[in-house]
């Protein structure tokens, strides 16, 4: 079973040289810490920055320089700044190669719900609906099961949707799964020490799994 950093570490392996990547808030943000050496990647922050650098050193925070999570950050050599319309313009035009974001639920046909729980205070979708509707390549970082042990990989989402038929890959504390074009989760990798049976039990949506599913290699 992976912790949050483990999920981030596994997702980082999906990042290829030359990718422009948008990282959502939460686990996706941690992915930046595990990008393999020698891989040139540019991080986009949808508030208007390409080339997001690490957090600033203490005392060097610039209130004019934040990421989409409103955290103080830095730029890198080759960074560029633009307005919100251009930022979502490049997202909509699919210039961003990979989007990594969190989810509350994902369905077997690639729907995602991650912005609203009826009855709870709704903060808003931010840029999530734009990202999931536009990106050609989305990986969801999420918990496979909630605290009550219930699956969050479902036949259909029960929460209000963020986007439909848009998710192609999910990485959880238990597994790496693809979502097949015709529908259904396909189990690709098991987290260290997790059995195929346990993943089957933990997945309410249709799951395709071979008997021999390899264990993830994280390093």
């Amino acid at each position: 079973m992976l912790d949050k950093n483990g999920i981030a570490k596994r997702i980082a392996k999906e990042i290829k040289d030359g990718y422009y990547v948008n990282l959502g808030i939460g686990i996706p943000t941690l992915v930046a810490n595990y990008i393999p050496e020698g891989i040139n990647v540019v991080l986009q922050s949808e508030n208007g920055l390409l080339g997001m650098g690490p957090f600033p050193f203490e005392g060097e925070e610039d209130p004019d320089l934040i990421n989409a999570g409103k955290q103080t950050i830095t730029t890198l050599a080759g960074s560029s700044i633009f307005d919100s319309a251009m930022s979502f313009g490049m997202i909509r035009a699919q210039k961003i190669d990979l989007t990594i974001l969190g989810a509350m639920e994902v369905s077997e046909n690639g729907d995602i719900a991650n912005w609203k729980i009826p009855g709870k205070m709704v903060k808003g979708m931010g840029g999530a609906m734009d990202l999931v509707a536009s990106a050609k390549n989305i990986i969801v970082a999420m918990q496979h099961i909630n605290k009550a042990g219930e699956s969050k990989l479902l036949p259909n989402c029960t929460l209000p949707l963020t986007g439909v038929k848009c998710i192609k890959k999910v990485v959880t504390e238990l597994a790496v799964l693809d979502i097949l074009p015709e529908g259904g989760f396909r189990l690709l990798e098991r987290a260290p020490g997790v059995s195929v049976d346990f993943i089957k039990q933990s997945t309410l949506g249709k799951l395709y799994a071979d008997d021999n599913v390899p264990e993830m290699i994280l390093d």
């Binding site: 508030n47 203490e58 209130p63 004019d64 320089l65 409103k70 307005d83 919100s84 205070m121 734009d130």
Partner: protein, 233 residues
């Protein structure tokens, strides 16, 4: 060149009246029109509809206008970083319309570019699409979304000149240029007001034609919402 300078925030916002629709630039607390917000609170104008990506925090940004109950409706992509906001929303005092962030930005741009509507895939298949026209282009569905119609746009720039030309600094640019284009009347507050001719024409983000009033702002607090740092090794 046409001179757009007014004496200050009070002067700049003097004709904003109850019930007006305002755009306010900024992302979180970054790049918000601090002086204009202070002046709006002082003036006590009410029943405002505010188009802004966020609604500030309890004691800063648009949060200050929520404390004084000047806001009737927020049109935003992400809100609720403040307790008072939540209280007013739950009690029905405050209306909120949530819009995908890219749609919000593009509806501003559409107004500034004279385009009555735009198409975006954001929200297709979700409750955002309810009641909206859906149209398929090249096998993909898009929603038709309309340009905003705002009485005033209040933006904050780093530098501006007397002709109304604006330059933004780093990610405080965010929604400011697209809102600057979109207001029927656009009011810009700047950290550094300079004479026309001091800014390089190639560096200007918002041409002065879009800006109706400009003033030298003061006492910028530029509060940080999430102070994240690393230690030197």
């Amino acid at each position: 060149m046409i001179n757009k300078v007014v004496s200050g925030a009070d002067d700049a916002i003097k004709d904003i009246k109850d019930g007006d629709t305002l755009m306010l630039g900024g992302f979180g607390l970054c790049g918000i029109p601090e002086n204009c917000i202070t002046a709006l609170v002082k003036k006590g104008v009410n029943k405002l509809t505010c188009i802004a990506n966020n609604a500030g925090v309890d004691d800063f940004g648009i949060g200050l206008m929520l404390q004084t109950r000047q806001v009737k409706k927020m049109i935003s992509s992400y809100v609720g970083e403040n307790a008072e906001f939540e209280r007013q929303l739950l009690s029905g005092e405050l209306e909120v319309e949530l819009i995908p962030q890219g749609t919000l930005a593009t509806r501003c741009m559409a107004a500034g570019y004279g385009m009555p509507a735009i198409f975006t895939p954001a929200g297709v298949g979700t409750e955002v699409a309810e009641g909206k026209e859906i149209r398929n282009f090249n096998g993909k569905d898009y929603l038709m979304e309309y340009a905003f119609d705002a009485d005033f746009a209040l933006v904050k720039a780093w530098k501006g000149d007397t002709a109304g030309n604006l330059i933004f600094r780093s990610t405080s640019r965010n929604f400011n240029p697209v809102m600057a284009m979109a207001g029927k009347i656009t009011i810009a507050e700047v950290e550094h007001l300079v004479e026309a001719g001091e800014l390089d024409p190639d560096h200007i983000h918002t041409p002065g034609v879009y800006v109706h009033r400009i003033f030298q702002g003061e006492n910028y607090e530029k509060r940080i919402e999430q102070r994240t740092t690393r230690k030197k090794d």
